[in-house]
Subunit: 203 residues, 2 copies
């Protein structure tokens, strides 16, 4: 038994700590969780924030429909249980990126408070930055970049958030972005200002 | 309709490309997939490689039992379907890290060829580096750092890879590490040498 223990010494892990990963990146690992209606501008704002941070030399990544629904969550549909599991997995992956010291943004409607709060509960205090992208159904419907509102109004899409399914806005989001009245650049800068104010862009 | 299109122009995504993320990190995004028996040294070698790369200023992350089984895959058991789904999800997450320009290591037994090949198929040629950590059952059983072989021999663990369940070694792994006869440091350096030889540590 003593011999076995001695052997294990040679097999000790030199595990790189989260703090060491953050120091190397000169930033804190954090999850920027954008939530809001389809067409509110979540993805565009998230990408603009991401681009600005990248230009500042920060290490970032975005989880969105393009890389999640076709990959990790391709075996999930749109039942209530699957929607919850969809957000849970995204939250767990965002947590891994954050643990890696990366600034991870997510851009999903994520209409249910309970699902978002479950992700918040996975993370340390301050690590989950909930960002409400506020835009009225009217505003979103006028933009309708993917023609989804049109289809929802025609009854071709059932349970469409804001039309035939509820959107539960956060009670106390870390940030509210007024996408009805402000431009992308201004809103993205609001996020950057927040990150600076919380010392998340230094290690 | 023309008005709608015009509106969309303002909402154009400034998406940071994979190449831009890799350039910022001065490396290529890649998945180092360590496979081998329990006790073969996968996790220890992966952590040593990770540590060495970190010291070289590279951007890395490790997916292993500690951060996957308790999180993303906590709703999976050990049935054949769940084992396959376990590896599939890990592969998809490793792909996201690689897409982010990170050198992502995974350290799971991953005994089935089909499951590993499915992950390889998710990735671009050259992006999946399959690393067989070769150690005999004898070697692993002597180490038995978690006491699992003892339990398996006593029948307390069913379907234990190498004892009561098969391990399907890769036919053409990118690397074979001889963990029966070589030390951790030498094996880790073998991985680093491979990464350099494939120009994966530059952008």
């Amino acid at each position: 038994m003593a011999e076995q223990k001695a052997t294990n010494v040679h097999w000790h892990d030199h595990r790189v700590s989260r703090a060491e990963r953050e120091k190397a990146k000169q930033q804190k690992g954090v999850v920027l969780w954008f939530t809001g209606l389809s067409g509110s501008g979540k993805s565009t704002i998230a990408n603009t924030v991401d681009h600005k941070l990248h230009e500042m030399g920060k290490h970032t990544y975005i989880l969105d429909g393009d890389n999640i629904r076709m990959g990790l969550n391709k075996n999930l549909g749109f039942s209530p249980a699957d929607r919850t599991e969809n957000i849970r997995r995204i939250g767990e992956v965002a947590k891994l990126f954050s643990d890696a010291g990366v600034i991870a943004s997510t851009a999903f409607i994520s209409p249910y408070k309970a699902d978002r709060d479950a992700v918040r509960a996975l993370l340390k205090p301050g690590e989950f930055v909930e960002i409400l992208v506020e835009a009225s159904v009217d505003t979103c419907e006028k933009r309708d970049p993917k023609g989804l509102y049109k289809k929802a109004r025609a009854g071709e899409i059932k349970e469409f958030t804001g039309i035939s399914a509820p959107y539960e806005a956060p009670d106390k989001p870390e940030l509210v972005l007024d996408s009805n009245n402000k431009g992308i650049d201004e809103l993205a800068d609001q996020v950057i200002t927040y990150l600076k104010s919380k010392n998340l862009l230094t290690a």
